[in-house]
Symmetry: C2
Subunit: 263 residues, 2 copies
Amino acid sequence: MENLTSATPRQVRQMIRRNELVRPTAGLCQGHVQANLAIVPKDLAYDFLLFCQRNPKPCPILDVTDVGSPEPRLLGPGADLRYDIPKYRVWKNGEMVDEPMDVARYWRDDLVAFLIGCSFTFETALLKAMVPVRHIEEDCNVPMYLTNIACRPAGFFHGSTVVSMRPMPPELAIRAVQVTSRFPGVHGAPLHIGDPAAIGIRDVNKPDFGDAVTIKPGEVPVFWACGVTPQAVAMAVKPELMITHSPGYMFIGDLRDEELAVL
Amino acid sequence: MENLTSATPRQVRQMIRRNELVRPTAGLCQGHVQANLAIVPKDLAYDFLLFCQRNPKPCPILDVTDVGSPEPRLLGPGADLRYDIPKYRVWKNGEMVDEPMDVARYWRDDLVAFLIGCSFTFETALLKAMVPVRHIEEDCNVPMYLTNIACRPAGFFHGSTVVSMRPMPPELAIRAVQVTSRFPGVHGAPLHIGDPAAIGIRDVNKPDFGDAVTIKPGEVPVFWACGVTPQAVAMAVKPELMITHSPGYMFIGDLRDEELAVL
């Protein structure tokens, strides 16, 4: 694991391409950008791009491939988005029909891939600031939840915001706001601190995606907008085809986290 | 003029709609967001949106209208982008064919309007920080220049970055970097400080758009990416139709500048 923490994104992507690393990517290649994936056919690409533009907290776009190309030229030149993510989800008409380790057999020359910033990116900065990241401590996936926070619709696309959660003492929640505000390209400041019910989460111990983590006495849950939101959207609007990453199994880009920081 | 500084965006837009205010908008409605306009037919809208997404320094998108609608629902509900800008430019096949005070006769139901953040927005923050804004002092338009800084292409669209310029003493240039970094939605930090030739500007006293301003002894020119960039793009790629604002004659939105600030 220590090797993976300090490995280069290219090294880890090669392991992923050979199916030698099938696990959530939190904590890997620390200091580098991680990204969510959403692939749609070109005839939905304008509406999806506009949806992301109107919802920059859950869907901050980092890269968009040219039509038919699986190469993210800004985030990872030479990478292939059909293979370089550990686990994918394939959605047809709103149903998840497959969760494969590559999507070569689903690829079409009318597909456009969107890479959306992932909060795993700012976890290096949180750790440096002595803010705990519980799912890294517990070596599991981050807990993620469907909420009642509506996204702004755009054409075909509408749906609710998905959030990730990290528990911490209140004074570190304040520090976490400061630290993550520097990274709007990977969701930025939290959406919510405290009562899960206020954003429509019934049971914080039963995440809709990923794993539950320990919330210690005196800790508050801190919620960030999450790039799994397009998967909630896929369930809501049922596009003919959408391909996403599996929650927590991200694309790791060559870009450094600090290259995305605003200040 | 003092009334216009403190007037509400709605009041000023109504004056503009009645053609009672045809002047550059720097300094008006201080504390509110100002925006550049670029209107393209729907069949170019995906490529244009992607162009903006790939070039967030010159083209930070603040609002995109629904196809055929002239109402910017996020930035100015009730406003009408056919009338509520003091002066427009109409581009056909790369040539400017008209510079009217409204564009009602050019409107079509396949048009999409993009509002792109304008650096006039952060001038209130600069003035509060005691950084001079020369074109406001001299009551003229901001100087703008074509540069040799290539934008990232996206489909049909490519071209060079346009910049605006404000001269100031070096110590205030540093302060200006700090102040404007808080506002990435309206171009954020400068692109360049100092030698105009380094970014392809031959004569800083002969701007390509707007007016020349006084550069005092000891001052350095500070250059910010500018939302006139889509007009340079129109000249380069010659779309069938593009409608823009006239440089310096902006849309004034209801949003407050601080609502856009990142920290």
